[in-house]
Amino acid sequence: MSDKEKSVDPATNEIMNLACKGEIETVFDRYEEMEPECGFGQLGVCCKNCVMGPCRIDPFGDGPTTGICGATANTIAARNLVRMVAAGAAAHSDHGRDVAHTLLIASEGKTKGYEIKGEEKLLNLAKEMNVKTDKRKIEEIAHDVAEKCFAEFGQQHGELQFTHRAPKKRQEIWKKFKFTPRGIDREIVEIMHRTNIGVDNDYVNILQQGIRAALGDGWGGSMIATDLQDVLFGMPKPIRAVSNLGVLKADEVNIVVHGHEPTLSDIMVTASQDKELLELAKQKGAKGINLAGICCTANEILMRHGIPIAGNFLQQELAVITGAVDLMLVDVQCVMPALSKLAGCYHTKVVSTSPKAKFPNVEHVEFSEEEALPIAKKIVRMAVENYPKRKKELVNIPKDKMELVAGFTAEYVYHMLGGKYRATYRPLNDAVISGRLRGAVGIVGCNNPKIKHDWAHLELTKALLKKDVLVVTTGCSALASAKAGLLIPEAAKKYAGKGLQEICEAVGCPPVLHMGACVDISRILMVLCNVLSEGGLGEDISDLPVAAAAPEWMSEKAVSIGFYAVASGIYTVLGIPFPILGGKEITDFITDKMENVVGAKFGFEPDPIKAADLIVKHLDAKRKALKLKPVMYGE
């Protein structure tokens, strides 16, 4: 591996050096080995949807200009892209489905370990979904809400319930262009049909279905996941915690949860505090049981319980290489298959739990909601029993760790700014109207070894803070900000422009607000809806001085998120272009003409400083269109 530093995070580089010396292979090595990556794939002009091919369009010379069936580069790129949307929307939505299932059987009393902790949210949902609440037990209400959410997945016609949360104008645009999702699953299936050989060949029409499925994710599957998790596990509130590999403890049993769904990880919190297991840990010579998280399941239990963060996507292998992880519990999404082989070099036990995600040579303890707590305890016991096998000479825990505040929600903003008795979004709207705040930007998404780990997230975030832009963040980007010390109120002084600083000081909040896991981008949509109903900033999301960015994205889920963000009216800048550049017209459509349809478009910009410029320009243009004053401080 080359000696160039792979990350801006010192803990990551420290463990990477260790890996190099020990000739332990990581994602960074495998990326180097894979270079140069296939150009046809990167440009999106390779089609393998039937076996007359695989076909490739020659992007340079005088080779084939269409596939064997006659599909052009634009058609092929569009088909490939919306299939990515289908996969991403399926992943988020299946997560939402699992949570709905958990709520349903919990309400029937068929589970061990779950209770309804978010009663207020449940009652609000019941009202929204026309579920009777008078003189009914909370379980009965939960049951009906869960059933109604379940029905959204298989619904064949009509409109998804939560799309009605969007501003009226937005809903009209969706109706006009047939973007309103009819059912979550139906739209995903239709993508697979339309992209089958010889069906939909018009790239604009193909994208229309991609948008519809993506909206079924953002305003459907993801939103259901977020809302029902709040019902089951409780509303997150700002909470202090610690992040980075330094949270692992030398003298305690370290359990790392990694993946996405909190149905098990939240129960792991309870199980890890079990007296009997703590006693067993002491018998084995450990001082306690230390639970930490990686990726979005970490975000979930961080914002509800303050469980520390061990790292983000590109650090999953590094956690094992510290030699201090006794057990890594994985469920679904973003879990690298490489963990299996890597764990063989250490004492770490990797345990898969989802029937949907198994790994060769990895012990599988199948999770079921009915037996959640006993299963969680069993896994904690495995970790404790593995602790004595830890090889002291292989343990290297970096010192780096950082304080953070996480757990902001659309609901919390009311109280954060308005106080306990006059809950309101008014101060937020006023801050934007007066120009103290230029606007707000959601920085989200993954890590990608194509970009120096965390670098683009942090550069973009800092560049925007300086320009008085409030940053909200989720997923691995949130974890990057956490490790860099951007999620503490003190960060405002260090990084924010004067206007943003004044707000952070008055409210006592960090300049970057942690809003949860990747499904919680639905929370950001709700914030925008609330801002609009507060008034004074236009009638539609596309009127607002807001934008989104995914500077280091890699997952298909990010494609779906990008599409529902743009289709909701949010200008979105990606650090890595969609694999469509081989099709000129589709590229032109997505990065330009799409604005005429949905009031927003994509930008592709790998340089985070240039991306910040694009975003600031966009925010200023939106401010101007709203006839707002220029920003209070600065140019």
């Binding site: 140069p36 010379g61 080779g63 272009p577 550049l581």
Partner: protein
């Protein structure tokens, strides 16, 4: 001299070499920039199917090069290292080199003949070789009968 050889049994016909060649000979030198250029960069290497075998082929840099003999403007010449090079400044686009090449490895842009230059300006060597995912392309010195 060192030349690029294709080990036919390893070539999967993925055409990564073609892309790498076009990118290397573009102005931007990266895929995402090259794709936007006008005129677009043209690759000098071609993957061809020959009696059910796949081969990636470009200029063979013949010791006695028919293209050099055929060139009327002196654009095509033998370099001291033994490679066959093409001075685009001198090329008049008469296409005699294309007629003369026994392997069909010279192509044409609008006005000029275009051929493999072994990426002489790149210290890393020929990019087609670096890009080959199966290592079917080799850049090495070969004596008669070695392959």
């Amino acid at each position: 001299m060192k030349k690029v050889y294709c080990e036919v049994s390893k070539c999967l016909g993925c055409r990564s070499c073609e892309i790498a060649c076009a990118v290397e000979h573009s102005k931007g030198k990266t895929l995402f920039l090259a794709i936007k250029e006008d005129p677009i960069s043209i690759q000098r290497r071609k993957v061809q199917s020959v009696s059910k075998l796949v081969i990636s082929d470009a200029c063979h840099h013949c010791i006695e090069a028919p293209c050099v003999n055929a060139c009327m403007s002196g654009a095509m010449y033998k370099e001291k290292d033994g490679s066959t090079q093409h001075d685009e400044e001198k090329c008049v686009g008469c296409w005699m080199c294309i007629m003369a090449c026994p392997f069909g490895t010279i192509s044409r842009s609008k006005k000029l003949a275009i051929k493999c230059d072994l990426c002489k300006d790149n210290v890393k060597g020929p990019m087609c070789v670096i890009s080959c995912p199966t290592k079917a392309l080799l850049f090495k010195e070969v004596q008669r009968g070695d392959l």
